[in-house]
């Protein structure tokens, strides 16, 4: 029987509604991505992109120290940033949720993320003002007579980490706070009622319950941090390049698109690995 039922017409309409978004995503995300993946298997010889299929780019990545070191730098910096940011943000989120009076909490939270509203590029630049040789910190220390020579705190890994941590402490404070206030105060009351002290309550009850929120925030931090070009480019100097910087180098100076594509695929694999590791805590669902 091929009669057209009500459900059929409805379904046809539904396809019409979802189609633009799907087509957009396929045309401008999936296909370009596949194209790039294909290109990572090509190579660039004497200025021309050669469509010869091989794994040369990937082999070169593992063979050339300068490229492989980029991935290691990226992973190290990202891990340091993620751990530091969680450790710094959790207490702040907790203080806002528990110590700050209810009616000031929203204000405290808005204040904690206010510098979000500076432009991302400008935010890294601002740290340059603070950390550079004649920046605020060095001039203050020298005026106070603590140091005689300016400290080298800009243009290195420390500066990159500071710039990143600054951004992600704000982000994580937000996500962890959102997690903390969702907890019913009865958990704490029940734990106290059963004889747990403050620390025990935190360790056995509050922390496990907020772990999913922490992991979501940490994963987000990982993804955004490992893929970022701006912060390390402005604050990191030229000694320790991270993977996105190397990708940009391939694009700019050498116009080696196949190599850039291969490095991007490797970057994505790193993110996927992180996702697999955190997957059990990550749940993005319809409320």
């Amino acid at each position: 029987m091929s009669t057209i039922t009500l459900e059929d017409t409805e379904r046809r309409k539904a396809w019409g509604f979802v189609a633009p978004a799907l087509l957009w995503t396929i045309a401008f995300f999936v296909l370009p991505f596949l194209f790039m993946a294909a290109m990572s298997l090509w190579s660039r010889e004497s200025g021309q992109i050669v469509r010869a299929w091989n794994l040369d780019n990937y082999i070169a990545f593992f063979a050339k120290d300068s490229l492989f070191k980029g991935l290691m730098n990226s992973l190290e910096i990202t891990l340091i940033v993620t751990v530091l940011s969680v450790l710094l943000a959790y207490p702040l989120a907790w203080i806002i949720a528990e110590r700050v009076p209810k009616r000031f909490q929203r204000l405290a939270l808005i204040m904690a993320v206010l510098p979000f509203w500076t432009s991302y590029v400008v935010r890294s630049y601002s740290w340059l003002l603070v950390l550079s040789k004649n920046g605020v910190i060095n001039q203050t220390l020298m005026t106070l007579g603590v140091v005689a020579e300016p400290l080298e705190i800009a243009s290195n890994r420390t500066a990159t980490v500071i710039g990143f941590v600054h951004f992600f402490v704000m982000l994580l404070t937000l996500t962890i706070y959102a997690n903390l206030i969702q907890l019913s105060p009865n958990y704490r009351r029940a734990a106290a009622d059963l004889g747990a002290n403050g620390l025990q309550t935190f360790w056995h009850v509050i922390l496990p319950l907020t772990l999913p929120g922490i992991m979501t925030g940490a994963f987000l931090t990982f993804v955004l941090c490992i893929g970022d070009y701006v912060t390390p480019q402005i604050l990191g100097g030229n000694n320790e390049l991270v993977l996105p910087q190397i990708v940009m180098l391939q694009l700019g100076r050498r116009a080696d698109f196949p190599m850039a594509a291969a490095l991007s695929i490797i970057l994505m694999l790193a993110v996927t690995a992180a996702y697999v590791l955190c997957a059990r805590w990550l749940k993005i669902e319809r409320a």
Binding site: T3, I4, T5, L6, E7, T9
Partner: protein, 364 residues
């Protein structure tokens, strides 16, 4: 406006589950029909098919003589009043009620006037500028009714509209619904699982079970002359006494039961053609029992029975009885307020012949 509705052999399946099994139904224009049954019986599916929210897997739906089987809800002369009222939360009452008119291109002034008229009909004219969240449950229910009626539908479909109200408000709203239906004359098809509600408002009741229609008729018929064991049981408390047909002639049949042989007129057999030696159940409502010698019309004596328990219900005593002839049988009977029954008392039990309904033993 109003229209007749008929359903021909409608079947609806969801995968392996049959929600509606070969249902046919004829509703006259202007009738108040109640679809009654337990949850999962198919009544809501039938209503959805009438409203056009689902189409039947097989079968046809005719409204006002036209085939509506695959016409979408918007193009049907029906409107639905939803269980959760489904009022538009961001619109004032007048805009809620006027929405259907707006969709039909009626100008603002006109539809406001009409909306106010319908809000007046349900007694909420003074709240026209409120929003739904400012209203009580009963008031929202009225707005939903006004909104559904404002487009002048031929058929109004009501999906358990009183389900969320407390008992007292429910009874009050039943009376109002009935009165409003009389005034507007629209065909109402109302779904409920509450048999008291069904009897209170329906012109005719459709009793449904497991996707089939078990019984269809005016409330008194359904209650007094049920055509299926399910229907008898669903409409109220009933005693089932199993028996077997011994002999049949043109006017009557002799049924042998544990409480004695009873000669029943053919009219007592509401459901099917009679055959000798067929197994049947006699259905007797608790209030139909008499104490032998009390009744005026012809009664069937059922022998003596012992009261094993009783409770006072205000209008009557509800008693559990054990017939002397059949100690395995437990019978529930209502005795008058004045009966002064006591546990262990022996009463002579009887029932009016006309109150007995005999049905074929059910399949399950």
């Amino acid at each position: 406006m109003t229209a007749a509705v008929s359903v021909h052999n409608a079947t609806k399946t969801f995968g392996a589950f049959t929600a509606l099994n070969d249902v046919s139904l004829d509703i006259k224009a202007g009738e108040f029909i109640v679809l009654l049954g337990p949850s999962g019986c198919g009544k809501t599916t039938l209503l959805s098919i009438l409203g056009g929210f689902q189409s039947p897997t097989r079968g046809k739906v005719m409204i006002g003589g036209k085939d509506m089987t695959s016409v979408p809800p918007a193009k049907r002369p029906t409107t639905t009043m939803f269980q959760d009222y489904a009022l538009f939360p961001h619109m004032k009452l007048r805009d809620n009620v006027g929405f259907g008119l707006r969709m039909r291109g009626v100008a603002r002034a006109q539809r406001d006037e009409k909306a106010l008229g319908f809000l007046d009909l349900v007694g909420l004219k003074s709240s026209a500028d409120k929003k739904p969240h400012e209203l009580s449950g009963g008031q929202r229910q009225r707005v939903a009714l006004a909104r559904a009626l404002a487009v002048d539908p031929d058929v109004l479909l009501l999906d358990e509209p009183l389900g969320a109200l407390d008992l007292k408000l429910r009874r009050q709203m039943q009376d109002e619904l009935k009165a409003i239906q009389k005034r507007v004359g629209t065909t109402f098809v109302h779904v409920t699982h509450d048999q008291e509600e069904a009897m209170a408002i329906a012109d005719r009741i459709v009793v449904m079970n497991q996707g089939r229609i078990e019984d269809f008729g005016p409330p008194a018929d359904i209650y007094m002359r049920p055509r299926s064991v399910f229907s008898a049981g669903f409409m109220g408390e009933v005693n089932f006494i199993p028996g077997q047909v011994k002999s049949v002639d043109a006017a009557s049949a002799l049924v042998e039961t544990a409480v004695g042989s009873i000669a029943l007129p053919i009219t007592s057999f509401t459901a099917s053609v009679l055959v000798s030696s067929q197994r049947v159940v006699l259905c007797i409502r608790p209030e139909h029992f008499r104490r032998a010698g009390e009744a005026d019309d012809p009664v069937v004596p059922l022998g003596e029975a012992k009261v094993t328990g009783s409770a006072f219900f205000g209008t009557h005593y509800r008693c559990h009885l054990k017939p002397a002839k059949a100690p395995d049988l437990s019978i529930v009977a209502h005795m008058p307020q004045s009966a002064a029954v006591a546990d262990g008392q022996i009463v002579p039990l009887a029932v009016s012949l006309a109150d007995i309904v005999a049905l074929p033993q059910s399949r399950n």
